[in-house]
Amino acid sequence: FFFAMVFRLDTTMWCTLLLFLIPICSSRWTSGNIDSRNQEAVVTSYDFGIWSFTLEDKAYRVKDAVVASPLNKFKEMTDGDHKVFEHGSLGNSIAASVLKVQQPGNTNVELHVNHQLGIAVSVNDKAPENAEVGATFTFPGAKGIYGIPERAVDLALKSGHKYRLWNLDVFRYQLEDTKGIYGTIPYLMAHSGSKTVGMLWNNAGDTTVGIDYNDAGIQATWTSLSGSIEIFFFPGPTPMDVLRQMAYLTGKQYFPPLFSMGYHQCRWNYRSEEDTLSVDEGFDTHDIPYDVIWLDIEHTDGKRYFTWDSHNFPNPELMQEKIAAKGRKMVTITDPHIKRAAGYHIFDEATANGYFVKNPQGTADYEGHCWPGTSSWLDFTNPTVRDWYATMFKYDKYKGSTPILYTWIDMNEPSVFNSHEVTMDINAQHHGGVAHKDVHNQYGFYQTMATYAGQMLRSQGPPHDTTTRPFLLSRSFFTGTQRYGAIWTGDNEAKWSHLEKATPMLLTMSLSALSFVGADVGGFFDNPPEELLVRWYQAAAYTPFFRGHAHLETKRREPWLFGEENTRLIRNAIRSRYRVLPYIYTTFYKSSQEGLSVISPLFFHWPADEKLFTLQDQFMLGNAVLVRPIASPRSDNHGNIEVYLPGEPGEKWYDFNDGTPYAAPQSHVIVCDDNKIPVFQRPGTIVPLRERARRSTTAMRNDPFTLQIALDSKGQAAGSLYLDDTHSHKFQNGAFVHRAFHFAGGRLTASEYTVTTQYTTPAAPVTEQFSTNTWFERIRIYGLTSKPNEIYLEHGDDNSFNYGGLQGVDAQSIKERKQLTFEFIDGVLTIRKPVAYLMMDWVITIA
């Protein structure tokens, strides 16, 4: 398998586009740079065989999306009319020759790349003034192509479809609409079964991708209405390699604090302190765990973000103290539009310093309408504005904020109510005279960058001398947003079809290196039927970001408002999330170090199984848990849910909760009552759990763990558990514990986790330590065929870990061999209370 590309800057294509977009093009035509454009083709190499192709010119070039440094430019030689690029350091990797005829208006560039993948590129640039850019790529042999979020479409992109990449606040976005919604990552992954490659079209302008499946493979035609050509290629060869190469280039998932992986309760709007605290109390009254309560735009003084409505929220600090007393957090919203109102500190400072985006003439601040009425938009593309904005989050600046207050940034496509396509004038001027159309898709991304910096800044210095890991949720995103925050799928609807579509939407973002993603539980618009609400909680409990949210005009839908039985079902669903949090936290940590996503399509794990290429109603959480959301009512499915379990013949999957075995690779019909959705544990895996019901992640911090082991056909399994203080950056200095578990030959061994891949971020020198007395209360094993005779535990005596951390534990006595009690029922072995310590090496022998 290889891929080949044909760049065609073909005049006829531009004319078609020009018909629709005359104002955009004509303004560029009059800019006067036409004839002086002198393109320089540059080929650059990066680590892991990633390389880029750039046509250097004066058009706008995307900044800040790519973080990896190039190894070096290819060595350039001239061979008559050819330029030859050679790269020696990668052995047989890339050698390129470029034919470049420098005649203004008639430039022919052909790029022939001799690569182990057999890439052949030709560029034929005949656009009259090169105002716009485009290219066609062919992926020979490809059977599926994925990526280019965000829109509510299927996981596998479809032949004959043209997808538009232009961030917009689309009111009640339509399923299957190929136009873009809130965010963009101009990235594709093509997969043949035996080989996977990827590409990033690094352009933030109005872009279209046409997909065409033909005999030769899959063709992708990219066109952008502004900006320049800068393309990155990821050689794979597996889907996971491509994803990790993308994450290496654009940044790995930042490691969020544990609380943000708990359940979030949101609504537009909790109307007052009293209302907010009564919802908080409601979770306790009904014994339902949750971690964060959210305040939407109505909490502000007339939509002036960073302020409070003095009538409904007269004492925000006290309110937050009450929330914090239960170990919980709060989030307030700070949108990018700023009310034009003298006396509002953000407006006054931004006006005085010229921090707003300017009108197309550059003569005054750009103005438009949004929630507060007439507003202007902060120019987050300007580093000075971002630095200034970060200071707005400081406790003395953001009155009424406390260390448990985190941030939600919405409407940052940006949404402008009274403007074309509900977004900013494409000719509005940004910092340095850059037209909005050049940076449009990055606007929200830059706000996440500034907000992240704000949360970092506020937690520095006494009395908060431990830098807290930020948490923010943004609606808009671009390549690289994974470095700063979480993303949700925006204003979805309370419909079964929207629950169903959430899975492919989240998978598409995940395979584009954006891991911390979720869809609002219940659906934002309209009132969900009770059954839909319950099913949504059950599905979302296994997605990276887990939040319930609702429109202002919907009925209240806190989990306990639908009768005792539904309250029980929702309680169970949310508890199922908290139960797997140790596994999710470990998976997030690995994602932050290695670049894999938290959830992924099944073909990532079984790339050769063609049944999985379009499978989108199931997903993998980490590498061990398979989830099949139920997105249809019982009246349709009668409780019979079909699930396809891939893998090698002879292997067995296990029901995650009761250990029932299911043979691979085949489809099974799983009978599900109202309390159950199909969730399975993959053979050969070990999943750490915390099985005690609690009210928040903070309340779980000292609880013992359970290890749940699903053996493979050889009687083996492996897994790991990562733990740290859950909220600070001290882990970067070694203050964490990461334990590996292996089961083989009847022995379960706990040791230090040392596995690294070539993609793993190199560890910093250890300067700080983390210690915990936490222990294992239960080992559960699926897949043993007979009841053991005896089971015993032996703690190791090596000193590779910190005994000092085990307060009040007699290190000598626990090293004695200890007989363990156990039970073996219906093929499930449960080892009772081994009291094996997380910080120590140990072996449990099953004889």
């Binding site: 014994d287 007339g302 609690r694 609880d703 209360e777 209370k833």
Partner: protein, 498 residues
């Protein structure tokens, strides 16, 4: 036998001893502690079919499927809960999920006792605080009750007053007013008759002098008839009626004149002018001529003059037709009045008094001037005296007062009837809000809300009273106030407030 008895006694004692000193497990209430008695060193889970070693009770591991073995820890998800003794306050059951989570839930701190979190016993403080809150709440309730009672009283009192007004006081007052109105009307008629006579007497002398000054006697009969017709139709049927009255008064015995004919003549459609076809013809000719003038190059020689003539002729036709119609109307009037048979002095009297009644001094002067070329330019329009009889004025004022009072009473009745149909709550307790307004500043805007009235944002009406409204099915009917149909300026819908 004795030995057996001792044995039994010993056994009993052992059993009793165990009963005497039962170790109540942590988190278990006194009422439940008997459930944790051991049977042969084993504990029977509450479900009745699982037995576990007694040492497994509260050993921080969940053995019973129903969670009953862990009343004092969080090891079980389905536990019955944790019993806080809370001495000094009152016992309380909390969820097992709260035990040992680092947050002090029981006021005696017993939920965190074994888990390393230092909790201060705050049961006493809690009791004090609860008592304070309870009494504060009771006082608040008391104040609320009292306020409601007052409001109910005010509402009921108002209902009694309103009924007194609507069914007794007002009907009485209305009867009085009707009587007064009839009385003053009759008196007014008499007084105004007298007033008129006095006025006529005064004006008559002026009239005689002015008749000479304006030399009306020199106008021919034909001229006098024309002047009469003009004046009589100056205000159409109103002026015609005045002339009919004057005729009765000044020329007794002219009863054979048909009032209906006179008025019909006065009402003839003079204002409509010429027939439509003539007007249309004029329009057409005008257009044709204007077009020709706008672009003379397209016009055949000599054609222009023809068009001009045609237009002028059409215009003349229209004017002619209007003049004829007016003439016909005057003629109709005069003949209905049989004016030609009137004596000259009667004609003059009619003209002069008509001029006074209609206040048309200038018109008369103009009409005479048009017929007497030798009339001195110094002649001024006739003077009309002012005459008001004091008694007539008084009566008129009194009648006006009565009429005004009627109007007020009618408004008052409306208001009372609105109140009568308004919903002031089950016991009328919301009546006290009637006529009151409440203001609040929010986000730089002043909002003003008047129950049973209007709601404003600044000066803008944002809704009119639309009654109480229950927010949801489980709320009181009087939960919310609704104001609908406010200004829709700048909005697609009229504003509404809840």
């Amino acid at each position: 036998m004795v030995r057996l008895g001792v044995c039994i006694l010993l056994l009993l004692c052992r059993t009793l001893a165990m009963c005497d000193k039962p170790s109540t497990p942590l988190g278990v209430s006194m009422a439940d502690r008997h459930k944790y008695l051991a049977h042969n060193g084993m504990f029977l889970c509450f479900n009745g079919d699982t037995s576990i070693p007694i040492a497994h009770i509260n050993d921080d591991y969940c053995d019973c499927p129903d969670g009953s073995d862990e009343p004092g820890s969080a090891a079980c998800n389905v536990a019955l809960g944790f019993w806080c003794t809370n001495e000094g306050w009152r016992p309380e059951r909390i969820f097992s999920s709260r035990v040992g989570d680092g947050i002090c839930d029981c006021c005696d701190g017993s939920d965190e006792m074994k888990h390393g979190t230092a909790c201060v016993n705050v049961c006493h403080e809690k009791a004090v605080q609860e008592e304070q809150e309870r009494s504060a709440h009771a006082m608040k309730l008391q104040r609320g009750e009292a306020a409601r009672e007052d409001a109910v009283k005010a509402g009921q009192q108002r209902t009694v007053e309103r009924h007194q007004m609507l069914f007794k006081n007002i009907p009485q007052k209305l009867a009085e007013l009707h009587y007064a109105k009839d009385f003053y009307r009759a008196a007014k008629k008499i007084q105004e008759e007298q007033e008129k006579n006095e006025f006529r007497a005064k004006q008559k002398d002026i009239l005689a002098v002015y008749a000479k000054e304006v030399r009306i006697g020199e106008v021919s009969q034909k001229g006098l008839l024309a002047i009469l017709a003009h004046l009589a139709l100056v205000k159409n049927e109103e002026s015609a009626e005045i002339f009919l009255d004057l005729l009765q008064e000044l020329v007794p015995g002219r009863l054979e004149v048909s009032e209906i004919d006179v008025l019909a003549a006065a009402l003839a459609e003079v204002e409509q002018g010429a027939p439509k076809e003539l007007v249309d013809a004029q329009e057409e000719a005008s257009k044709a001529w204007q077009q020709a003038q706008a672009d003379p190059s397209k016009v055949v020689e000599g054609e222009m003059e023809k068009l001009e003539i045609a237009y002028k002729q059409a215009k003349r036709n229209v004017q002619q037709s209007a003049r004829e119609k007016q003439k016909a109307r005057r003629h109709g009037f005069l003949s209905a009045l049989q004016a030609e048979t009137l004596a000259i002095n009667n004609l003059i009297d009619l003209i002069l008094w008509g001029t006074v009644e209609l206040n048309q001094g200038q018109t008369l002067l103009d009409l005479v001037k048009a017929r007497l070329s030798h009339l001195s330019p110094a002649v001024k329009p006739m003077e009309v005296v002012e005459h008001k009889r004091l008694e007539a004025e008084n009566i008129r004022q009194r009648l006006k007062n009565v009429t005004d009072t009627f109007e007020e009473v009618r408004k008052y009745i409306n208001q009372l009837q609105r109140e009568e149909s308004e919903d002031y709550g089950i016991d009328g307790e919301f009546y006290v809000l009637q006529g009151r307004c409440y203001e609040k500043e929010h986000a730089g805007e002043l909002f003003k809300m008047c129950p049973f009235g209007n709601a404003y944002q600044g000066k803008r009406l944002i809704g009119g009273w639309a009654g109480f409204h229950k927010q949801t099915d489980w709320h009181s009917k009087y939960r919310m106030m609704k104001f609908l149909k406010g200004s829709s300026e700048g909005c697609s819908q009229p504003r509404e407030v809840e």
